[in-house]
Symmetry: C2
Subunit: 323 residues, 2 copies
């Protein structure tokens, strides 16, 4: 007597990715998995809750993509190679159209990165999505938060603030129709920087993904490493839309304090600068120098005119949030 | 600027269990873990949702126990040795007293089984708890659902129906004060049968934990194995309270169809009967013969007078549910 929620689970039971290290996938009490010899397992779990992390009525295909992407971003930040995912889906009703679209978004991104869905649970309740990802990394080579040293250079991938500007546009800020579509794409369908993370293994001294905003996330590296940092705001890689917004408003919070970009922030010993610049030229996402690791704790923000931004950027509260 | 939800996470950041195979625990983008050489990884993820799986106002210490226990029960059903857990906790408010009690229940059970909490996520939203457990099993030796063969004997641990009777008592059934306390303990604080599962590796042909009710869960074994089964209801191990209830009402649904007991149901080749009876005598949970695996599909229920129960037991709907 399968329940309607068992039926829903069928959308996930025929994986398009079939990995040889999955001994037993969806359908038993546990999945059975084989970590390759000489590899450590990297795991991360994240929940997206309706009304907190996504709006009621959010497009399910994009949500399926994002739920997996934000977890893969954690693997990218460790320099890990993705392998498996599990999914706990809570839904108010057994809406098969919704699940089919969600599964399509989730499984399409999984296929891009060779990730097999190996287990899950579907329950009735207020809508939320919890994903755990599993990846492999060479022993002692993971990109941790605690390896930054004074003198290291700070780099970020991609562009910063697009997702934050998309949130402001949702709240009524006028940015133009073409622009808003591009920004929404960045907010709704972030790109986990897995190739960058893998390329930085053995080069970067520390890494984190930018989910809470660059200043906060670099602050996490600094706290874990027992160091501080200075960021040069005129070096932040920004799209034209974000650059225009900052020029017009003087509000640096969008590229500095808004989260949800899921770019990587990494620190690199100065001696490896040549390597990192060569790598930057090859990587589609780019890798941009934005600051320095220093001995004094805290994260200092230097404005384009050389003065210090001596308080949290205006507009920070737009992005303050829990969990 | 840690949020109030970050503060909550601190209740989980100082594990009492410190395993040598945990390279990096809570606090980075990922946990880093080492599966022992020559072992497969068994993983299971389950969600408990307020209003679906537990009542609003449920005692948080018991809920912390149960959230981990139901997942450990999945490892038990595979014959796996537990190792690590991750926890995704969604809460409407940052109620530190609630979290402290929840963490106490969760971590106490984790300590009993040597399980280290290695990662998590705390988010704001309607209350729910998702746990993933990770364990080890020898390659090719896991207790799967698909190994039952005609002629195998069916055994169950412990007693069946206590949790179901506790639910009926909550709905108003009179069972007496002492009895209701004992039944509630079984419903609220189930015991994962990990030692039984480990002892059955190499002996049992298939296993599952009884979360949906014995008939349904044995049905899952039968469907996965391409076989059927007959259960002899007078052989079901029951507490005095459940035995009295069935005698007075004739309602077999409590031991047959109610879930939440988290006992194990296993099948064993007839040639191993001696081994299993010897094992049964040693195990505190016991191991009770209840039926046979046969070729015709479906699960047949034989009443004490030898007649067949030819429809779903009366009262089945008490326990029908989704997810």
């Amino acid at each position: 007597m399968p329940s309607e929620f068992d039926l829903i689970a069928r959308y996930f039971s025929r994986p398009r990715v079939r990995r040889s290290d999955v001994v037993l996938g969806v359908g038993d009490d546990c999945a059975l998995l084989e970590v390759p010899p000489g590899r450590q397992l990297a795991v991360s779990i994240d929940t997206l809750v309706e009304g907190t992390h996504f709006a009621c009525g959010a497009e399910p295909r994009a949500l399926g993509h994002k739920a997996l992407a934000v977890n893969l971003s954690d693997l990218a930040a460790m320099g890990a190679e993705p392998a498996w995912a599990t999914l706990a889906l809570t839904l108010p009703t057994a809406d098969e159209d919704w699940v089919e679209a969600f599964a399509a978004g989730f499984l399409a991104l999984a296929e891009v990165h060779g990730v097999q869905l190996v287990g899950g649970d579907t329950t009735r309740g207020p809508r939320s999505v919890t994903v755990q990802v599993h990846g492999f990394v060479e022993p002692g080579r993971a990109l941790r938060r605690d390896g930054a040293r004074p003198g290291d250079l700070v780099y970020v991938t991609g562009t910063l603030g697009d997702a934050g500007l998309a949130l402001l546009a949702q709240q009524g800020l006028f940015v133009g129709l073409d622009t808003v579509a591009a920004l929404r794409e960045r907010l709704d369908r972030p790109t986990p920087r897995l190739a960058v993370g893998r390329a930085l293994v053995g080069v970067a001294s520390a890494a984190i993904d930018v989910s809470d905003g660059l200043a906060a996330d670099l602050g996490h590296i600094c706290a874990a490493s027992g160091v501080g940092a200075t960021l040069y705001l005129d070096r932040l890689p920004c799209s034209t839309a974000v650059r225009t917004y900052v020029a017009e408003t003087g509000d640096w919070s969008v590229p500095v304090a808004a989260g949800d970009d899921y770019e990587l922030c990494v620190t690199v010993p100065a001696a490896r600068q040549g390597e990192i610049e060569a790598l930057a030229a090859e990587l589609p996402a780019g890798l941009h120098w934005v600051g320095m690791i220093e001995r004094p704790p805290g994260v200092r923000l230097v404005l384009p005119d050389g003065s210090m931004l001596d308080r949290a950027p205006a507009g920070y509260d737009h992005f303050a949030r829990d969990g």
